[in-house]
């Protein structure tokens, strides 16, 4: 009795807040037929938005990948003073509004910003141009890979690496032959989540983009413009591509969690201030 009621409650809530909104995206996108749908996603401004989104993710994700591996190596393999502070600082972008993230880059590189004069003198555009979009995206996706790798590398310990070292392996050999194979699923997991956020980021990118159609519009920004123009079918058509990306991300995530069940537990729902898993009882 209680069981049925609880399952009913949970499923009703999930239907209302998750399933129906997702379904709406696809029904609205196809509301005026497949031809209109295809036209909306193959239109030049839509294509350039898709291209820009892919390009931004292709820069931001590798940047944060290299950082994530370096940070996880330093934090998981060594003990040093200030480690927990460093972990908190790495998590900082998660605790900050994306709009504030965008704001910081306007303050730095905008016309009246700290580097504004220098940039104008050298005819370099950062804000309201592609470099600003890349910076803002990199900022908001900054912790993703590091925070997946750190707990996994911590739980694996240093034994494998120390054995390799005693057998005469160099640092790079240890990393490529020993550590990387050990962390490959966690790495992929981090990349997957980082990429989803990088392609879908709206707030931070919206602040720094300047909304130049066909030039500085990513897919989420393009969705907004179409929506505000009352072009609902086109807005939902482009949105449906992003929704498909989200579904692929969820499928990939489930697959990786099936391959390596620990990933579930080291996932993003951690205490933001300590980066520990919730207390175990």
């Amino acid at each position: 009795m209680a069981r049925r009621f609880l399952i009913g409650c949970a499923l009703l809530f999930m239907a209302l807040f998750l399933a129906i909104p997702l379904l709406t995206v696809f029904t609205q996108a196809l509301a005026t037929g497949a031809a209109a749908y295809l036209a909306a996603i193959s239109e030049p401004t839509a294509l350039s938005a898709i291209k820009l989104t892919l390009m931004v993710a292709a820069i931001s994700v590798p940047l944060n990948l290299v950082f994530g591996v370096a940070a996880a190596w330093a934090i998981a393999k060594f003990n040093f003073r200030g480690k927990s502070t460093l972990i908190t600082l790495i998590d900082l972008p998660f605790a900050i509004s994306p709009v504030i993230a965008g704001l910081t880059f306007i303050l730095l590189f905008g016309a009246t910003g700290w580097f504004g004069g220098f940039l104008r003198a050298h005819h370099i555009r950062v804000v309201f141009a592609v470099p600003g979009i890349v910076l803002a995206t990199t900022f908001v996706t900054f912790p993703f890979i590091a925070r997946e790798l750190i707990p996994v590398m911590q739980s694996q310990g240093n034994n494998d690496e120390e054995t390799a070292l005693s057998l005469g392996a160099t640092g790079w050999q240890i990393f490529w032959r020993v550590t990387l194979p050990n962390i490959r699923w966690a790495l992929l997991y981090g990349v997957l989540l980082c990429n989803a956020r990088a392609m879908g980021e709206f707030g931070a990118v919206s602040v720094v983009s300047g909304h130049v159609r066909g030039l500085t519009n990513t897919m989420p920004l393009h969705v907004e413009i179409l929506y505000n123009d009352y072009d609902y079918t086109a807005a939902f058509a482009v949105a449906s591509l992003l929704a498909l990306l989200a579904l692929l991300t969820l499928a990939g995530k489930s697959f990786l969690e099936w391959r390596q069940p620990e990933l579930r537990r080291t996932g993003h729902a951690r205490d933001a201030t300590t980066m520990k898993r919730p207390p175990r009882v």
């Binding site: 399952i7 807040f17 950082f67 504030i100 730095l108 900054f142 120390e162 897919m219």
Partner: protein, 280 residues
Amino acid sequence: MNALAAGRPRRVLPGFGLTLGYTMLYLSLLVLIPLSTVFVRSLGGGWLHFYDAVTSPRVLAALGLSFGASLIAALVNSVFGLIIAWVLVRYAFPFKRVADAMVDLPFALPTAVAGIALTALYAPNGWLGRGLALLGVKVAFTPLGIVVALTFIGLPFVVRTLQPVIEDLDHDVEQAAWTLGASGAQTFARVMLPVLWPPMLTGFALAFARAVGEYGSVIFIAGNMPKSTEIAPLLIVAKLEQYDYAGASAIAVVMMVLSFTIMLGINALQNWAVTRHGER
């Protein structure tokens, strides 16, 4: 041994200097230095200007709305997140794995997409909005709509924080309570809740923090009317569009300081709960 005696850990593996150095450099360049500009800029016009900027009625209304709606959404998520986490761990039902994967949808779905989908649903002519309008409830373009969007955004934080804790809960303890004659409600209140509420608080805090800063999913469903349905992040954007950088920075500083104070408070409350309950 000498290294240990000196209180310094032995560093056997190579790469400490390189990786820590790179981490610090990247962190400083991308996060710390940019963030510090917000604090510096907010005081660009002096303390008085800062004070005026953050105490104007429009700013106070936006801050109140952002923090108030986030609080309500995080509370709703705490209740339903607990139920969902419980059901996903303890019960078997059809399509359970799909339901479990779907919990992460708000993490994976771009916020702008969520925003337009929720608006289409809850607008007066939408699937759900039409029915609710008959009942006299308006969701889209009201503060209630903001709560709906923020609830969507925060749900996975509570569920994913609670799930591992419920998985680790011993069935034996509940059964012991049950055999000693406790009712279902008593078992829940006296046996489960003391263990579940610290992680619930963590989930609440994460959902709340995310909701306060949320922008993309809210701006479509909120009416964005100053003093009634304008959230604080949107007001930052509005100030930026008027080139009022000091004003935008001032609101940002107040938001960050308030968020961190609340997070610290929740953390302290949680530590107190955990020590009082005799864990760890």
